[in-house]
C-alpha cells in the first residue's frame, strides 16, 4: 500500500513537473510578453484618428486569418506599446515603431512582409527592382486606408512621383493611353517584383505586347526577324515624338538595317526634296505619307504569296 501510494505521489509530481515545465516558466514569459502590450484601448486614447482609420481598413477585418485584428491590433505592426505609454508617448518613444518616410525602408517593409510575404504577389519581392532601390510598402500603400483604396493616390500618378522620366515619355504625342486613365502601369509591370526585365509581367517583351496586340503574334510564313526578337527594336513602350510609338522616323528606322543594296531603293538618301511639294524626280513615295510602309505594309510579318509576301508587300 505504501509502495503504491509512493508511486502515485511520484507519478503526480512527475506530471506536475512536466506541466510546470511546459506552462510554468514559458507561460510566465508569455504572460510577461503580453504584459508589454498596452492594448488597443490605450492606443485609441491618444490616437483616435488613426484608430478610426485602422478600424475602417482591411487590417481590421476579423474574418481574414492573420490580420492585426486577430492578433494585437495596432501593436501587431507598431510593436508592444507599454513602454511607449509609460513614457508619455511621442514619436518613437519607448521603441514604438513608426512608419516614417525617413526611416529605414527595409525595416518598414519587413513589418508588412512579416504577414504578407506569404502571398502570391510578394513571392518575388526579393528579386524586384523596388526592393533593391529601397522602396518600402508604405511608400505606395496607405496602411490605414479604407477598404476601397489601398494606394496613396491614383496608381499612375504614384508611379510618376519617382519615374519622372517615364512620365515625360507619356507626355509625348504618341503614347500608350496611361495618362488618359485607360491603362495602368501595373497592366504591364509587376510592381512587387518578378523575373521579367524591368519587372514586366511576362518572360519576354513580345509575350507581353502580344497580350493586347494578339494580331502581331503570327506565326507568319514570312517573318521579320527584328520584330520576332523584340518589339522594342523599333518601338518605344511608353511614348515617342514619332507616330505609332516608333523610336525613330521612317525611313531612317528601316535604314538602320536595310541599307547597302545593289539595285533597289533601300539605301537612297531621302531628303526634304522628297516631300509632297519637293522637287525630287523619283522615289518620293518612299518618303512622304507613311514612307516605307506605304508599300511594305505587312512589316510585322506576312502570309503573302512568294516574293510579294517575302517583301511584306502583300
Amino acid at each position: 500500500m505504501g509502495r503504491i501510494l509512493m508511486k502515485r505521489i511520484l507519478g503526480g509530481v512527475f506530471i506536475l513537473s512536466i506541466v510546470y515545465f511546459l506552462l510554468g516558466p514559458n507561460s510566465l514569459a508569455i504572460a510577461a510578453e503580453k504584459a508589454e502590450f498596452a492594448g488597443v484601448d490605450a492606443c485609441k486614447k491618444c490616437h483616435e484618428d488613426y484608430y478610426n482609420s485602422y478600424v475602417s481598413s482591411i487590417h481590421a477585418k476579423k474574418k481574414i486569418p492573420g490580420t492585426p485584428a486577430k492578433q494585437d491590433a495596432c501593436e501587431s505592426c507598431h510593436g508592444a506599446g507599454i513602454e511607449h505609454v509609460s513614457k508619455g508617448g511621442g514619436k518613437g518613444a519607448g521603441g514604438i515603431f513608426v512608419f516614417d518616410k525617413k526611416g529605414d525602408p527595409k525595416a518598414r517593409a519587413a513589418k508588412c512582409l512579416a504577414c504578407h510575404e506569404e502571398s502570391k504577389s510578394l513571392a518575388f519581392w526579393d528579386i524586384g527592382a523596388h526592393r533593391k532601390n529601397d522602396v518600402s510598402c508604405d511608400d505606395c500603400h496607405k496602411i490605414h486606408a479604407p477598404v476601397a483604396q489601398s494606394l496613396k493616390f491614383d496608381e499612375n500618378q504614384l508611379c510618376f512621383t519617382c519615374h519622372q522620366d517615364i512620365k515625360s515619355m507619356f507626355n509625348r504625342q504618341s503614347h500608350h493611353p496611361v495618362k488618359e486613365g485607360l491603362i495602368k502601369c501595373s497592366n504591364c509591370h509587376d510592381v512587387h517584383g518578378g523575373f521579367g526585365k524591368h519587372m514586366i509581367k511576362a518572360d519576354s517583351i513580345n509575350e507581353l505586347c502580344y497580350e493586347c496586340h494578339a494580331e502581331k503574334r503570327g506565326p507568319f510564313m514570312w517573318e521579320h526577324p527584328p520584330v520576332e526578337k523584340n518589339c522594342l527594336n523599333c518601338h518605344e513602350a511608353h511614348g515617342s515624338s514619332h507616330g505609332r510609338l516608333l523610336e525613330r522616323k521612317l525611313p531612317q528606322l528601316c535604314q538602320n538595317c536595310h541599307d547597302v543594296q545593289a539595285g533597289g531603293h533601300f539605301s537612297e538618301a531621302y531628303t526634304s526634296f522628297h516631300s509632297f511639294n519637293g522637287a525630287a524626280t523619283g522615289d518620293k513615295n518612299k518618303f512622304y505619307g507613311r514612307s516605307c510602309v506605304n508599300c511594305h505594309t505587312n512589316i510585322h510579318g506576312s502570309n503573302g504569296p512568294a516574293a510579294a509576301g517575302q517583301l511584306f508587300l502583300r
Binding site: 484601448d41 485609441k44 474574418k63 485584428a69 502571398s119 502570391k120 526579393d126 528579386i127 533593391k132 477598404v147 476601397a148 519622372q164 522620366d165 515625360s168 504625342q173 493611353p177 485607360l182 523575373f195 518572360d203 497580350e211 506565326p219 507568319f220 510564313m221 514570312w222 526577324p225 527584328p226 526578337k229 515624338s241 525613330r248 531612317q252 538595317c257 541599307d259 547597302v260 543594296q261 545593289a262 539605301s267 538618301a269 526634304s272 522628297h274 509632297f276 519637293g278 522637287a279 525630287a280 524626280t281 518620293k284 513615295n285 518612299k286 512622304y288 505619307g289 514612307s291 506605304n294 505594309t297 502570309n303 503573302g304 504569296p305 512568294a306 516574293a307 509576301g309 517575302q310 502583300r314
Partner: protein, 675 residues
C-alpha cells in the same frame, strides 16, 4: 489580447457625379480625341462601396454611355473568396473624314465602282474614320479560404473593330503606292488560371494561360486598277496560344531566398496560302502554312543578405524561341521555288549583383551580366554581351537622397557581312542575304550614366532632379547607324504654402542625336552620304491650388507646354546627289545646303486649365471650369499632304494628315458623396 471594439455596422459609401461638357474643336478632332471621347454632353460617374464584416461589394462606373465607358464590380467574402467583373471600352482615333476611291470600307472586299476615277479624288465615293474601338469584358475569381493554398481564374474577351491604314504597291516596280483602309474585326479571348501554395518557407505556383485570336478578315481583296486585276493583301491570321508555367521560391538560412520561374508556350496558326502573286505576275502551286512557335524559359535567382551590410543576387536565365512552322514550298509557273526561312533564337544570361551598406549611409552596388544570343538562321550569327554596372546612393541627410549609376554594355557579335554585295537579291531563293544588316547583331558599346537628387527639406516642399546620358556606338560598322546619343533632364517641385496654396511644377528635357553613314549602291559605290538627326524635346508645367476659403473654395490653375523639334542634316557626295548620268537626282538645284529636313515630327502642345471647386457641404461639391489645348504639328512627310500627290507616286486616303488642332472646353459638374 485587447477586447475587440471594432465597428460591426456595415459601411455604405459612395459618390455620384455628373459633368456637363461643351467643346469647340477646330482642326483634327481625332488627334484631340486620340484616346478619349470628349464631346458636348453629360458625363456620369458613380462609385459605391458596401462593406460588412463578412463580405463586401464595390462598384465603379465612369463615362457612362461614351466610348471610354468603364464599369467594374468587385466583391467577395472576407477571408473566403474575391471576384470581379468588368466592361471597358478603349478608343483609338487616328483620323476622321478619310477618303477612299473604293466602296466596301470596313469589309474584306474593296471595290472600285464604275465611273470612279482614281486620279480624281472628287469622284471617290467613300468617307470614313480611321479609328478602332476595343471592348473588353471579363472577370476573375480567387479563393482565399483554402489558404495556404490559393486558386485564381480569370477570363477576358476583347472585341476590336474599326479601320486602320494599310498600303500596297500597285506594281512590282513600286512606282505607285495605294493606301487602303484595312478592316479591323478582331476578337481575343484569354483564359488564365493558377493554383499554388504559399506558406513560409515555400512558395509554389502552377499556372496556365490560353489565348485565342480570331480575325474575321484574313485577306483584303481590292481592285488593282494599275494591273487591271483583282488583288489581295493578307491580314493577320487567326492564332492560338497557350502557356504553362511554374514559379517557386524557398526561403533559406542567412536571409536568403532561391527563386525559380519556368515556362513553355506554343503559338499556332493555319493559313491556306494564296495561289496568285498578282504583283509579280506569278501563278503558284497551292499550299498551306501551319505556323508553330514554341518558347521555353528557365530563370533562377538566389538572393541573400547574410549580414546587415551585404546583399547579393546571382541569377541565370534561358530563353528559347523555336520556330517549328512549316517550311512551305510554292513553285511558280517559271519553276522558281519560294521557301520561307524559319527564325529561331536562344538566349543564355547569367550574372550577379552585390550591394554594400557602407558607413555614413552610403550604399554601393555593383553588377555584372553576361548574355549570349544565338540566331542560327543562315548568317545571322550570335552576340556576346558583357554588362558592367556600378551605383552609389547616399542618404546621409534626412532631407536629401542622391543616387548615381553607370552601366557599360559591350557587345561582340559573330556576324559577317557578305563580301559580294551583288548577291543581295531577295528574289533568288538560293541566296540568304536580303540586303539587311541586322543592327541588333552589330558590335556595339553602350554607356549609360544616371544621376538623381531628391530634396525634401520640409514636410511641405519636395524637389526632384534627374539626369540620364546614354550613348551607343557601332564602331564595327562601315555603313549604317554609327552612333546614338541621348541626354535627358527631369525636374519637379511641389510646395505647400501653409493652408493657403499648393504650387507644383516640372521641367523635362531630352536630346537625341544620331549619326549614320550610308552608301547608295543603286547609283554607285561612291555614292556616299551621311545623316545626322537631332531630336530635341522639352516639356514644362506649373500649377497651383489656391485655397480661397480653406476646405470650402479652391481655385485650381494649370499650364502645360511641350515641344518637340527634330531635324535631319544630310551631307551627300556628288555621286549620291546625282544619278550616273550626272543629272540631279532630287531635281534641279538640290545641294547639301537645301536638302536637309528641318521639320521632323515637330510639334508644340499648350494646355491651360482653370477650375473653381466649391464644397457646398461635406457631401456636395460644385465645380466649374475652362480648359484650352492647342496642338501644332509640322512634319516634312506630311506637310502639304495630298490625296493624289503631284508626282503620281501614290493614292492616299488622309491617314495622319493635318494633325493640328485647337480645343476649347467648358465644363461644370456636381457631385454628391454619401457615407
Amino acid at each position: 489580447m485587447a477586447p475587440s471594439v471594432y465597428a460591426e455596422e456595415p459601411t455604405l459609401a459612395g459618390e455620384v457625379s455628373l459633368k456637363g461638357l461643351l467643346t469647340n474643336v477646330k482642326g483634327n478632332d481625332a488627334k484631340f480625341n486620340e484616346y478619349s471621347d470628349l464631346h458636348d454632353g453629360l458625363y456620369g460617374r458613380a462609385k459605391l462601396l458596401y462593406d460588412t464584416d463578412a463580405w463586401w461589394l464595390k462598384a465603379n462606373a465612369s463615362d457612362i454611355g461614351y466610348d471610354t465607358q468603364n464599369y467594374q464590380l468587385d466583391g467577395g467574402m472576407w477571408g473566403i473568396l474575391k471576384s470581379n467583373a468588368f466592361y471597358k471600352e478603349i478608343p483609338h482615333n487616328i483620323g476622321f473624314g478619310a477618303r477612299s476611291m473604293f466602296t466596301g470600307v470596313g469589309s474584306g472586299n474593296l471595290s472600285l465602282p464604275p465611273g470612279v476615277d482614281p486620279t480624281d479624288a472628287t469622284t471617290w465615293p467613300s468617307s470614313f474614320n480611321y479609328s478602332t474601338e476595343r471592348r473588353q469584358t471579363g472577370g476573375s475569381f480567387s479563393l482565399d479560404v483554402i489558404k495556404p493554398f490559393f486558386f485564381n481564374a480569370s477570363a477576358t474577351t476583347e472585341q476590336r473593330k474599326g479601320n486602320r491604314p494599310a498600303g500596297v504597291s500597285l506594281d512590282s516596280g513600286n512606282a505607285q503606292a495605294l493606301e487602303l483602309p484595312a478592316p479591323v474585326d478582331y476578337r481575343t479571348d484569354i483564359l488564365k488560371t493558377e493554383l499554388g501554395y504559399a506558406k513560409k518557407p515555400l512558395f509554389l505556383d502552377l499556372y496556365f494561360m490560353y489565348s485565342e485570336f480570331d480575325n474575321k478578315n484574313e485577306i483584303l481583296n481590292f481592285d488593282n486598277f494599275s494591273l487591271g486585276t483583282s488583288d489581295t493583301l493578307t491580314l493577320p491570321p487567326d492564332n492560338k496560344y497557350y502557356k504553362v508555367g511554374f514559379k517557386g521560391a524557398v526561403k533559406l538560412p542567412f536571409d536568403s531566398k532561391f527563386s525559380i520561374n519556368t515556362g513553355w508556350s506554343q503559338t499556332t496558326s493555319h493559313t491556306n496560302l494564296l495561289t496568285a502573286d498578282n504583283l509579280f505576275g506569278l501563278t503558284l502551286t497551292p499550299a498551306t502554312f501551319n505556323g508553330k512557335i514554341a518558347t521555353q524559359n528557365i530563370d533562377v535567382a538566389l538572393t541573400s543578405t547574410p549580414v546587415d551590410f551585404l546583399d547579393g543576387t546571382i541569377f541565370y536565365k534561358y530563353y528559347n524561341r523555336d520556330n517549328r512552322s512549316d517550311m512551305t514550298t510554292q513553285t511558280d509557273q517559271l519553276a522558281d521555288v519560294f521557301v520561307n526561312r524559319l527564325f529561331s533564337y536562344q538566349k543564355n544570361e547569367f550574372g550577379g549583383e552585390l550591394g554594400f551598406r557602407l558607413p555614413l549611409k552610403f550604399y554601393l552596388s555593383t553588377g555584372y551580366t553576361h548574355s549570349v544570343t544565338n540566331q542560327p538562321l543562315d548568317t545571322l550569327g550570335s552576340t556576346n554581351d558583357d554588362i558592367y554596372s556600378i551605383g552609389l546612393k547616399w542618404k546621409g541627410l534626412n532631407f536629401m537622397s542622391i543616387r548615381t549609376s553607370y552601366e557599360r554594355l559591350v557587345r561582340n557579335s559573330d556576324f559577317s557581312q557578305p563580301a559580294d554585295q551583288s548577291l543581295a537579291n531577295p528574289f533568288n531563293p538560293g541566296i540568304n542575304i536580303d540586303g539587311a544588316r541586322n543592327l541588333d547583331l552589330a558590335d556595339k558599346t553602350r554607356d549609360t550614366v544616371k544621376l538623381n537628387l531628391d530634396l525634401y527639406p520640409t514636410d511641405f516642399l519636395s524637389i526632384g532632379l534627374g539626369y540620364k546620358h546614354k550613348e551607343t556606338n557601332y564602331k564595327q560598322l562601315q555603313f549604317g547607324l554609327k552612333s546614338d546619343r541621348r541626354d535627358e533632364i527631369t525636374t519637379n517641385v511641389d510646395l505647400m504654402i501653409g493652408t493657403y496654396a499648393q504650387l507644383f511644377g516640372y521641367f523635362d528635357y531630352g536630346l537625341t542625336r544620331r549619326s549614320e553613314d550610308q552608301q547608295d549602291q543603286s547609283i554607285s559605290t561612291d555614292a556616299l552620304w551621311n545623316l545626322k538627326d537631332k531630336e530635341k524635346y522639352y516639356d514644362f508645367g506649373a500649377g497651383t491650388n489656391i485655397y480661397l476659403v480653406p476646405k470650402k473654395l479652391t481655385l485650381r490653375l494649370q499650364y502645360d507646354y511641350s515641344k518637340s523639334d527634330g531635324n535631319a542634316d544630310l551631307t551627300l557626295s556628288s555621286d549620291a546627289l546625282n544619278n550616273p548620268n550626272g543629272n540631279a537626282l532630287f531635281g534641279t538645284g538640290a545641294n547639301n545646303n537645301n536638302i536637309d529636313i528641318p521639320n521632323w515630327d515637330d510639334y508644340t502642345k499648350k494646355s491651360v486649365m482653370a477650375k473653381l471647386i466649391y464644397n457646398v457641404t461635406k457631401k456636395i461639391t460644385f465645380a466649374i471650369g475652362y480648359a484650352y489645348e492647342k496642338f501644332t504639328f509640322s512634319d516634312a512627310q506630311l506637310d502639304g499632304y495630298a490625296l493624289i500627290p503631284t508626282d503620281g507616286g501614290a493614292f492616299l486616303t488622309g491617314a495622319y494628315a493635318n494633325q493640328s488642332y485647337k480645343a476649347n472646353l467648358y465644363f461644370a459638374s456636381v457631385s454628391y458623396k454619401f457615407w
